[in-house]
């Protein structure tokens, strides 16, 4: 048995306590995760706040509308219930682009620029899929609520493809030029300015296609005719709305 003098014992004990203290601090330091620092400046925080407020307002509006629909269902007779149901379906169809859409907007006419062809140049200009996609992306960015290319309604899942050298929209070939693209928007004048100043005009000109834009108060878009194939879509359950 180890024999220690009383003084040594206490000394050892104190040193042990010190070591234990150091160990605990070391353990805490090693196991503590790096602190998450908010490095956004005032402007960024304000912007984030504004975004959240906007989102909140949108959600509140949606809730109010859903409440109204629910009330209509609740208080009226069967016939009127059917009416409400029909109007709900119509509204959904309009949002999905299945129903015809009317409103103010702009009409873009794409026509070939005729000039003396050089040797080997294409005989007649065609709209390439990439160019069309670019234009449609731009229109959507500018705030289009509905787009129709020729007699085809362009919805969010409409494909634009190159099939044997021809451009296909909604799996149907695009008619030859000239062609009209109808765009419905809440502010046609602004949209017209945007399109006039956009890069698409130059890019179309490079392909020997002229772009003419005019505003219209009463524009009709056809509905999307095919079935909506949304089998590939999956519900994202990772984050519910309102959860944060």
């Amino acid at each position: 048995m180890i024999l220690l003098s009383k003084r040594t014992k206490w000394l050892m004990s104190l040193i042990f306590a010190l070591v234990g203290f150091m160990l605990a601090i070391q353990f805490q330091t090693a196991s503590s995760e790096p602190e998450f620092r908010d490095t956004r400046d005032q402007w960024e925080v304000r912007q984030a706040l504004q975004e959240q407020q906007k989102l909140q307002q949108e959600l509140l509006e949606q809730i109010a509308q859903a409440d109204r629909t629910l009330e209509e269902y609740g208080e009226v007779s069967d016939a009127e219930k059917l009416e409400t149901l029909k109007s709900s379906i119509h509204q959904l169809e309009q949002e999905a682009g299945l129903a015809e859409l009317e409103g103010s907007g702009i009409i873009i006419t794409l026509a070939p620029i005729f000039q003396e062809w050089e040797e080997g140049a294409p005989a007649y200009p065609t709209v390439s899929p990439s160019l069309l996609t670019h234009l449609i992306n731009e229109l959507n960015t500018f705030g289009a609520t509905g787009i129709g290319v020729g007699e085809e309604r362009f919805i969010s899942i409409s494909p634009v493809r190159n099939v044997n050298g021809e451009t296909y929209i909604n799996n149907r070939p695009m008619p030859p030029l000239p062609i009209t693209i109808k765009v419905i928007t809440s502010n046609p004048k602004k949209m017209m300015d945007y399109v006039n100043a956009s890069r698409s005009r130059d890019m179309f000109a490079l392909d020997q296609i002229a772009m003419e834009v005019e505003a219209g108060q009463h524009i009709e878009l056809p509905g999307y005719e095919d079935n909506l194939q949304v089998d590939i879509l999956e519900l994202d359950r990772s984050k519910e709305t309102g959860e944060d």
């Binding site: 206490w10 004990s13 040193i15 234990g20 150091m22 160990l23 601090i25 330091t29």
Partner: protein
């Protein structure tokens, strides 16, 4: 003999309760100080088993080792060399040596006491 270990536990509890955290820049110093402390403790136990324990040596050994290790780490940081690794290595080797010696002493002790029990007349 249980008193030091009781104090060790008290120290750990105190450390956990104070919720102290060392800034990232100084973690190396703390690591090496803890290693030095361990080394000194084991050295003390070993000296005790060899019956060469002197509290003044133990006390000065503890504080000099810890501060020397910290100094070495500091020097390493200033020179841009990971000098604290040298200290970690040295202390690590000494830790193992000390533990080995302590183990041998303990084994010898138990063997001796058994022999004494078997033939107490010798």
């Amino acid at each position: 003999m249980w008193l030091p270990f009781a104090f060790l536990i008290i120290g750990v509890i105190l450390g956990l309760l104070t919720d102290l955290r060392v800034p990232d820049a100084y973690t190396d110093y703390l690591t090496i100080a803890v290693l030095a402390a361990f080394d000194t403790l084991l050295g003390g136990i070993r000296a005790q088993l060899e019956k060469k324990f002197e509290d003044i040596v133990f006390l000065t050994g503890f504080f000099t080792n810890v501060s020397l290790a910290a100094l070495l780490a500091f020097l390493g940081v200033q020179l841009g060399i990971d000098l604290y690794l040298a200290a970690v290595f040295a202390f690590g080797v000494r830790l193992f040596q000390n533990i080995a010696i302590i183990r041998r002493h303990l084994i010898n002790q138990t063997i001796n006491s058994r022999k004494l029990k078997k033939n107490p007349e010798k």
